[in-house]
Symmetry: C2
Amino acid sequence: MRIAIAGAGAMGGRFGYMLQNSGQEVFYIDSWQENIDKMKTDGLTIDDNGQERKIPVKAYHAKQIGEEKADLIILFVKSMQLPEMLRDLKPIITKETKVICLLNGLGHVKTIEQYIPRPNIYVGVTLWTARMLGPAHVHLSGDGNIELQNIDPEMEEEAKKIADIFNAAGLKAKYSQNVLYSIWKKACINGAMNATCAILDCNLAQFNQIPHADIYIRNLLNEFVWAAKTEDQVELDAEEVFTVLKQTFDPSRQGLHYPSMHQDLVQNHRLTEVDYLNGYVWKLGREKGVSTPYCEMITILTHGKETILGIS
Amino acid sequence: MRIAIAGAGAMGGRFGYMLQNSGQEVFYIDSWQENIDKMKTDGLTIDDNGQERKIPVKAYHAKQIGEEKADLIILFVKSMQLPEMLRDLKPIITKETKVICLLNGLGHVKTIEQYIPRPNIYVGVTLWTARMLGPAHVHLSGDGNIELQNIDPEMEEEAKKIADIFNAAGLKAKYSQNVLYSIWKKACINGAMNATCAILDCNLAQFNQIPHADIYIRNLLNEFVWAAKTEDQVELDAEEVFTVLKQTFDPSRQGLHYPSMHQDLVQNHRLTEVDYLNGYVWKLGREKGVSTPYCEMITILTHGKETILGIS
């Protein structure tokens, strides 16, 4: 199967590497010139639990993508780059090309639908992680899994075939009857802490120790619970999510971790993905005439900090 | 008249200096040992619009205050130091000692009432400013004024006498029929931007340029308008306050200024006074069963940042 990895960052590198190892024909598409150049000349360097491997790969800049058609495209771009990437991917998409989106955050299906027919769209969540050490250099550690599902109810069998491909590569995929639940749950967990750790410049354990952290977290969780129900009839249990979240704050678990928006805003002075988490809930609130003050405020503060840091 | 300046910081230094110049008998009380030591040995150094003057002064540490009774005490401590200072002041207070509070923020009268009979309490707002350059060293610039009023309706004449004393010292005091209005208005202006500039590490002009700044400001203003009406039957005009606030953001006015909580939190790693602004409105909301999410959130974030910075 010809699999295109659209977005050759840390996660794209992990998935591409594991799929290529399992015998799939993989090629990478990315907009970062230095990354693509290095992949072409030196291949992809993978630190796989202590062992360094150099893998020859096929890589294309998104603006010079050629005509090689893909059977499956795995989307691993930043949320805000999704529309442009989908436009760039046009030359490699056929009527049969399946697209699977494993991005964090909300609202991606609405974007993808504008470019891809619904029967070819699949979504999922993954707990795999990876870290970019530099252009064409990815560090892998830890374990993970994938839940995925078709968007079109008719396409369940096709979704299971995609899961099989992932499983053959060791990516531990499971067909889900209700992946929207998992997507909302993950968004909810992220929405309750990610942007705030960026604004306060702290890790999860530090965030957990600020006075009134629990009130603060519950305020945000409740707005996500409302949004999940309103947009997708997904019934999240706020207390269950709260319990999961509080466990991750333990320093012996993910407590010492700085979440993605901290990495973006504080560490790398890049735009955050807040519009696909708290900003998405705020937008839904405005559409429905419902006040979502906590998501609104953290979204404004996060974009405010981007503006003050001169990030655009 | 024997006037005690309780809190010999920048504003205390300005008021003490101007009152002493006008012939009043002034003494200073402060908890900062180095400040008091320097005042005792070298006097108070005042940079008055370019001219440096050294003034011999009487100064006491708040814990070694002696027994010299005061006719008038002017409170210029940080809000959170107010209860302790009032306890420390006990030895110099008689049944006739008047106390005037010119602090920013809300809720001070409730604190003062616990130590001073209501007929002796006066409150006000002032637009005078000053800057501390070091222990016993105060920089004065610009112009200002004072509005003040009695708390007990019977004491109007006494309030006017205090205004006369300030006026004789060039402090431009005016008796106000409704000083609560001015206190709430000032708190409202502060509450809409002060803590946020601390959290975002920006000045007023930068804050004004973040996306959705106007929505953000109006959300906070509306909660203060509710609080003013609920607590003191003060009718603030949110649009009027909004207009005043937007004018101050102009870089040719106060736009390049970093407000007090920025100075505290970011510049000096000191506790902020957020509990006497947004935190006060949030507390009132809880008492009345009314949601004040914007004040709640900025209060939690501000205390959160204090905690993360290890300030206590």
